[in-house]
Structure formats: C-alpha cells, structure tokens
C-alpha cells in the first residue's frame, strides 16, 4: 500500500479512496463521497458505509469533495471492470483499466466502438463478449462527453 502520511491520516467526515491498477496506484486521496459503477448500477458511498466487496462494471467513478483539491468540483475516472472493497471508511478500487477523464481520448474510444459494432460475433460466448465490450465502449464515451 502506498502509505503516505498525508493520505493515511483520517480526516473528519471523509473517506479514503484508492484506485490500484496492475501497473500503479493511480489515486490515493480523501473525499467526501464517491460514486461507483457497480455491475448493476451506480452506488454512492460516504463515510460509515457498511463494508462490502462488489464487482464493478464499466462506467465512471465520481469523486466529490476531495480534500486535496478544494472547490474544484467533481473528479471523474473511467474504469472498466474490476472490484471494489469498501470497509472501515476506506474504498479500494482494484481494476485492470482506469483512465482519468482528462486523459481520455474520445476519438480513439469512438473508433473502437465503431470497430466493435462492425465486427461479427458468432456463438453465445462471442456475442456475450461483444455486447459487453460495446456496453463498455459506450460507457467510456459517456464519461468522455461530460
């Protein structure tokens, strides 16, 4: 865990929010609340939420009331799949793909979606995978558009 003194000190009314990807720890901060794209819809989490482990779908993570960037509004990240562990006011997102909104390449995402739509899938598994990928690409575009 990337325990820096500033990030690990508990702050009143806030939760610690961490995003880890296979390559690095992308985010480690404190925020008032965070909205996560669970596999079946969004879920908001604030301090005192009951502990759970959940599967994530594709969509955006919204961070509001961040301690390090007061008055800057909501920070958005796009995540695709993975897990979240919520426990004792620490929210940890473990995902293979997480992209901050400002680094998101909308043109590339659109091209990818088009490529997916024009590809042909045969067999139940391939069709399922394609639908999932299309859904993820659309979610990515929605995040980029905001």
């Amino acid at each position: 865990m990337a325990d820096t003194t500033t990030a690990s000190t508990p702050r009143a009314g806030m939760i610690r929010f961490i995003v880890v990807t296979p390559e690095t720890t992308l985010v480690d901060t404190h925020a008032k609340s965070v909205t996560l794209p669970l596999f079946d819809g969004s879920r908001g989490i604030a301090r005192g939420h009951s502990p759970f482990i959940g599967r994530l779908g594709a969509g955006e993570v919204r961070l509001s009331g961040e301690a390090d960037r007061p008055g800057e509004g909501v920070r958005r990240l796009f995540v695709q799949g993975g897990f979240v562990e919520v426990g004792h006011d620490v929210v940890t997102v473990v995902t293979q793909r997480a992209i901050p909104q400002e680094k998101f390449d909308a043109a590339h995402a659109r091209a990818e979606l088009e490529k997916l739509l024009s590809s042909r899938a045969t067999g139940d598994e391939a069709i399922g995978a394609k639908l999932e990928a299309v859904e993820a690409a659309r979610a990515a575009l929605r995040t980029a558009a905001k």
Partner: protein, 295 residues
C-alpha cells in the same frame, strides 16, 4: 619501438571499451531504477487482490473453480522470458538452461508442449537446440506494459478453459533483491488456491472480514477475481524478468569496466617497461659510439 607502439595501441582500444562498458553500466543502473519503481508500484494490485481473495475464503464460500483444479497433464505450455540483448552475464543462459530442463522433462514424460518465448536471445538459443517454438515475442523490453501482457495471459486462460493445455509454466528470472536473482520455473496454471499463498490470514482480519457483504455473490466475484489474479501474477513475472535483466547487465558491465581498468594498468606497465628498455638500448648504443670515437 614496435613493441611499445603496439602496446600503446592496445591500451587505447581497451580505454575505448572501458568507456563503452562504463556507459552501459550507467544506463543499466538508470533503467534498473525505473523498472524497480514500476515493479514496486505494481505490488499494491497483487496485494489488494490477495486481500479480497482472503476475505472470500474467510466468508466461507467454498473455493472451487476450474482454474484451481489440478488435472493430469496431457498437454502443457511453457513460457520462457529472456532478454532481447546480451552483454548481461549469465542472465539469458540461466533461463535457457532452466527452459531446456523443463522441456526435456515434458518430452521424457511424453507430454506435448506448447512453447512460447519472449526475447531474441531465448529464441535463438532454443532454436539452436532444435526446440519447436510455437510463438515468440520481441516487444518486451525494460518496461513491459500490462496492456501488452494481458492478451497473452487471456489466451492461456481460454486455452486452459478449453482443455487445450493442462498446465502452464513460466521460466523467468525471479528478482529477490539487488544481490540475488535466480532463474526459476513457476507453475501459474492451475492457480494455487489462495490459502497456499503464504501470508496466513491473521485472526483479526478474519474476524473483520466476516462483516463483508458480497455483490452480487462471493462465487461470482471469485469467478472474476481468479483470472485477474492470474494476469497480475503473469505480469509480475514480466516485471521481475525486466528488473533482473537490468541488474544482470549492471553487474556484468561493472565487472567488465573493472577488468578493463586492470588490463589498462597491466598494459601501461608493460608499455613503460618496453619504452624504458628501448631508451636504455639507445643510450648504450650512443655510449658505444662515443667509446669507439675516443679510440
């Protein structure tokens, strides 16, 4: 004079080589630091996955999954990770030796083997030994990226699920610390169950973990998390190999620089001696001439 001049020329060329090896050492040191930072940054992911797995195990969900199932090996896959470049001591040859050992073992047991090699050095060494390489990669340098490693891992996963392979071994150089790296053969598929991963669950965390709810269910999370855990382990092998290669090159080039310095010292000594004896010879000749003139 001829001998002294030849020595001087050799000394000059050794000096040039020393410059090159010294530079390579510095480059390897810089790359090693970067690779090491990446490897450290990647640890969190593995740790978090292990934590979630531990929690699922503690929640009492029976951990049964095709990826954990040990089947009799009828067809196996071996992935060999070597470097693209040499000049790094025994790094490549150690891995190749390990790979040849395991491939020989499978051949001895009449098990078909699907060999994939990363790195030019490994490819040529194994080809030379007459091993049939199904696939090879040369795009992994000192900064392997997860997005490049994941497709390879997913292919292995689907082959394993389809029953095309019953086992996957990765031959790579494991990085223990800066003074110790060793070539190892590690079995990645079937996955080892989470309990066997060392770091036994402490009673305190087990107690706390029983409070967790699972969305949608522990079983469904397990189904997703095991492939992720496999991919992260595979990625760690690539990272370890990259770090170890840089360390090996650093050490080899440091030794080469030191040897070059020793050689220069020796050559200088011989050059000075040759020069001195030549001067002495010339003086003797002049003295001889003077003596002859006196008479």
């Amino acid at each position: 004079m001829a001998k002294a001049r030849a020595l001087d020329r050799r000394r000059k060329s050794v000096r040039n080589i020393r410059k090159i090896t010294r530079t390579m050492e510095l480059i390897a040191t810089a790359r090693f630091k970067k690779a090491m930072d990446r490897s450290v940054a990647a640890r969190d992911y593995t740790k978090q996955l292990a934590k979630i797995l531990e929690n699922i195990a503690a929640a009492g969900a029976g951990i049964v999954h095709p990826l954990l199932e040990v089947r009799p090996t009828k067809r196996s896959a071996v992935l060999v990770l070597t470097g693209n470049r040499g000049l790094c001591g025994g790094y490549n040859s150690n891995v190749v030796r390990q790979a040849v050992a395991i491939l020989g073992q499978w051949r001895g047991e009449q098990v078909g083997c699907d060999t994939t090699v990363s790195g030019k050095r490994g490819i040529s060494a194994l080809k030379f030994r007459g091993i049939d390489i199904r696939r090879s990669f040369t795009n992994f340098e000192d900064k392997p990226e997860f997005d490049a490693v994941a497709p390879i891992g997913r292919e292995y996963l689907s082959a394993y699920a389809a029953g095309e392979i019953d086992r996957l071994d990765v031959v790579y150089t494991r990085f223990h610390n800066i003074a110790k790296q060793e070539a190892v053969t590690e079995m990645l598929l079937p996955l080892k169950p989470p309990e066997a991963e060392g770091q036994g669950a402490k009673p305190a965390t087990t107690l706390a973990s029983q409070e967790y709810d699972f969305y949608p269910s522990a079983g469904s999370i397990l189904e997703e998390i095991l492939p992720a855990s496999f991919l992260s382990r595979l990625f760690k092998c690539f990272l370890d190999a990259a770090v170890s290669e840089q360390v090996a090159r650093m050490v080899a080039m440091k030794a080469a620089t030191e040897n070059a310095s020793g050689l220069i010292k020796d050559l200088s000594r011989r050059y000075n001696r040759a020069r001195q004896s030549q001067i002495t010879g010339e003086i003797m000749e002049i003295l001889g001439g003077v003596e002859a003139l006196k008479q």
